[in-house]
């Protein structure tokens, strides 16, 4: 049986048939690309099919991860990013760096954020702040026990040749013994989301407290692989002087 059909196709296909097949392959590939792959992978949706099939959600989930409700207002997004004054210059003798500039001015957008998260044994969570390049943040996190963590950022614009969804840059990593606190000043090296991934490797529940203040406009949360973008707290929630009585130190 197999021998018979072998004889049948020993005559090679005609030029016309090969050409037709190639063109048909090209057309089918083109249609699938334009209607499905490009909308899902890059958010490029010339025919609107991606939107109709909700495929463009995949692209936005990978790139900006910002739901419409939390998107920055147009007035904010058109503002140019702050220019970074070279703040510190390494001292030649290896001692403390030389201060070259002392501040980075921002037009507006000062926000605060305070969170308390209970992490069950083995559980991980992510908190990242959407900041423009050059925007600053002061942060402090404490935990009731040691947590493994990675302080990292996902730039909106990836370097040429990098995968569009999985790219990130590590600022500080402890995946060995872990720490139970971290405090510092952070200046965003790129526009994008910057923050922490924590993981509780202890057998008990750990309470994590994160407080920060800075120039970010929304916050990215990841809990149980559920990604959400939430609003920040308004600085006005902090009771201002004179609601807080002065305490004389000396």
């Amino acid at each position: 049986m197999g021998e018979e059909s072998y004889v049948v196709t020993v005559q090679p296909p005609s030029r016309k048939r090969i050409a037709t097949a190639t063109v048909v392959a090209l057309v089918i590939a083109g249609i699938l690309l334009v209607t499905a792959v490009l909308p899902a992978e890059y958010g490029i949706d010339p025919l609107g099919t991606g939107k109709a099939l909700h495929l463009t959600d995949l692209a936005s989930a990978g790139a900006a991860r910002v739901p419409e409700k939390a998107a920055p207002s147009p007035s904010e997004s058109t503002e140019p990013p702050a220019t970074i004054v070279p703040v510190l210059e390494p001292a030649s003798d290896g001692s403390a760096p030389v201060v070259k500039g002392t501040f980075i001015a921002q037009k507006r957008g000062y926000k605060v954020d305070s969170r308390e998260i209970k992490l069950k044994a083995g559980e991980g969570t992510e908190i990242k702040y959407n900041m423009k390049k050059g925007a600053g943040m002061v942060y402090s996190w404490t935990a009731s026990d040691k947590l493994l963590f990675e302080f990292h950022g996902e730039p909106n614009v990836k370097p040429v040749g990098k995968s569009s969804t999985d790219y990130y840059e590590t600022y500080e990593l402890d995946n060995q013994s872990g720490k139970n606190e971290g405090h510092g000043t952070f200046v965003a090296p790129s526009s994008g989301i910057h923050g922490w991934f924590w993981e509780n490797k202890t057998p008990n529940e750990v309470t994590l407290k994160v407080v920060s203040a800075g120039f970010y406009d929304w916050i990215f949360l990841n809990r149980d692989n559920k990604e959400t973008a939430v609003r920040t707290m308004d600085p006005d929630v902090i009771p201002a002087h004179p609601k807080v009585p002065d305490e004389a130190l000396r």
Partner: protein, 226 residues
């Protein structure tokens, strides 16, 4: 036999969606980056995983062995492919050659189109002669290796134990290739015993070509957009 055809078409169209784990995934990436010193087994696993889930390499291999009936031929062609991609994988990472991954992946997509067209007897019909298939497999093997190298280079690899880890990754790639090939060969040899095989071979290669063109379009768009 039309069920076989349908199965094959579904496979070609669905495979790219189902196997999106093509890039070394985020969790693996953290491991690769935080790793210092030689770690043979993990890199073996990563290499094998990359090959088994890397549909572009698999589509090309399906094209290559599609009309190879004798095991000796299969071994010969696959060895040429292996020599090609091992050379550029090792050379690329060790030499620190950073090729643009979108362009390399586009060429890999083109290799699928090339082999499908070749399987249709396109070159004999249009050029009047058959360009060396062995040479083509070797040359495209070199590009596939660059693709593997750029994937591995997306992470800062620790200098400590670098060679051991890359060689482990490479051996893992070969293990993954043998695993994937075994599956493909079993399916192909079964299909060949059915009367429908040769009648649908042409159509199957057209479907393969669709997959190749899609990879080219996907990667080229990425090159211009990202």
């Amino acid at each position: 036999m039309s069920r076989n055809l349908l199965l094959c078409l579904i496979l070609v169209i669905v495979l790219p969606v189902g196997a999106l784990a093509h890039n070394v995934s985020k969790r693996d990436a953290t491991f690769v980056q935080s790793n210092s010193g030689s770690a043979i087994a993990p890199f073996l696993y990563l290499g094998a995983k990359h090959m088994v889930t890397g549909y572009d390499h698999l589509l090309f291999l399906v094209g290559v062995i599609f009309f190879l009936y004798r095991l000796r031929d299969v071994v010969q062609y696959v060895s040429l492919f292996t020599i090609g991609h091992s050379l550029t994988l090792l050379g690329g990472v060790l030499g620190g050659i950073h090729a643009n991954s979108y362009l390399v992946d586009a060429i890999i997509g083109f290799s699928v189109v090339y082999k499908a067209f070749d399987n249709m007897d396109g070159f004999k019909r249009f050029l009047g002669f058959q360009p060396s298939t062995r040479l083509a497999v070797l040359i495209f093997g070199l590009f596939h290796g660059f693709g593997l190298a750029t994937k591995l280079q997306e992470f800062t690899l620790a200098k400590n134990g670098l060679v051991t880890n890359i060689v482990s990754f490479n051996i893992g790639v070969e293990i993954g290739q043998v695993l994937a090939l075994t599956g493909v060969l079993i399916a192909l040899s079964y299909w060949r015993t059915r009367p429908g095989f040769l009648q649908h071979a042409f159509l199957t290669n057209t479907a393969l070509m669709v997959g190749g063109f899609m990879l080219v379009g996907y990667q080229l768009t990425g090159y211009f957009v990202a």
